[in-house]
Symmetry: C2
Subunit: 203 residues, 2 copies
């Protein structure tokens, strides 16, 4: 029955997500995914034909989920500074709940950049920035932001929240020697990163 299909397909998809995020495309085993879903390996192929198909489905879903987390910033009705604070609070909280996503995505994207290209094609970046300029045109004279510096600025903002998760393996080891837990560090970071950026862009 269709009800059963859906349940099985979803169970497979969820298990595949966990295993792929954990082990990466190359390290993941179809057998692991089957075991994790409590079903037989052959069923994976029945629903998704090949490992590659299954991976692509998982990858696309995760990438969209990640991008979607940046969106609310562009329409929130807040001052620029509050937007930055809002962003780090929301985004880091999301990553705390999905701590392995950054490393997974960055790695798989570098391994096969073509995969992400079509997702990027759908975004009208110039327009997003026009929106931001429009929303904050009265405030912008308070900041060191020029049209040319926007890529540098945006990538810097993303770096401050994404990097600690991507580098968790090292960072956690270093923090440990200082008696600081990664969780405490990340909690603190919501405010630190916002303050850092705001000071950096102020005239």
């Amino acid at each position: 029955m269709a009800e059963n299909d859906k349940q099985t397909e979803e169970k497979i998809f969820e298990s595949a997500t966990e295993v792929f995020v954990e082990k990466g495309m190359d390290g993941a085993r179809m057998q692991d995914i089957a075991n994790h879903a409590g079903i037989n390996k052959a069923l994976l192929h029945y629903y998704y034909r090949t490992k590659d198909h299954l991976f692509n489905a998982v990858f696309e879903k995760i990438a969209k989920k990640m991008f979607a987390k940046f969106a609310p910033v562009f329409d929130a009705n807040l001052t620029l500074e509050d937007k930055i604070r809002f962003f780090y609070k929301e985004h880091i909280t999301f990553l705390q709940n999905n701590p392995r996503l950054p490393a997974f995505l960055l790695n798989e994207i570098n391994r096969n950049p073509a995969r992400i290209r079509k997702l990027i094609q759908n975004i009208d970046i110039e327009n997003l920035w026009r929106m931001l300029e429009e929303q904050h045109k009265d405030e912008l004279n308070k900041y060191n932001i020029t049209r040319e510096s926007i890529p540098q600025l945006m990538s810097s903002i993303a770096a401050l929240s994404v990097f600690p998760f991507a580098a968790r393996g090292i960072l956690e080891g270093i923090l440990e020697k200082l008696g600081i837990s990664f969780d405490d560090y990340m909690e603190e970071r919501k405010e630190f990163a916002a303050d850092f950026v705001i000071r950096a862009i102020k005239k």
Copy 2:
């Protein structure tokens, strides 16, 4: 003869480095490494016994090389601001010449954090920071730097140079839509990142 040994062993090591960095531990094939070195697969095992041994040798070398790049900052005889500028110039130039190292290292470290732990153990972090405090004790009152904020600050500094390379697959796609080359962006970044940090830490 020993001369020959050394040549072959080095050729294997170099080829292994290229292939591992390109494909990662799981994606790399012993056959690829052998082909790349222009020798037979069996020779790899003669010199390094297993794929795991070979990988560990490569990984450790690269990790040390990366860490070593942070060292000059701690003994350069410069003001704090000039140290920051010096760091980004040196570090980003190094990464421009080794653009795949960040993604490789971050990924493999997360996949197996134990590998990096013993390297971290050898670093006396508290002492490094005492050195920095000592070197700049006369300037520190000009900045918003407290002992507790040092981990946040240091990870932020690293994030700004490492992240763009780790995220190159996405970043390049976005920049492309704006008519900016990754190389130009990176060149610009040496100064942008330094200015960004300096403004962020100033009182």
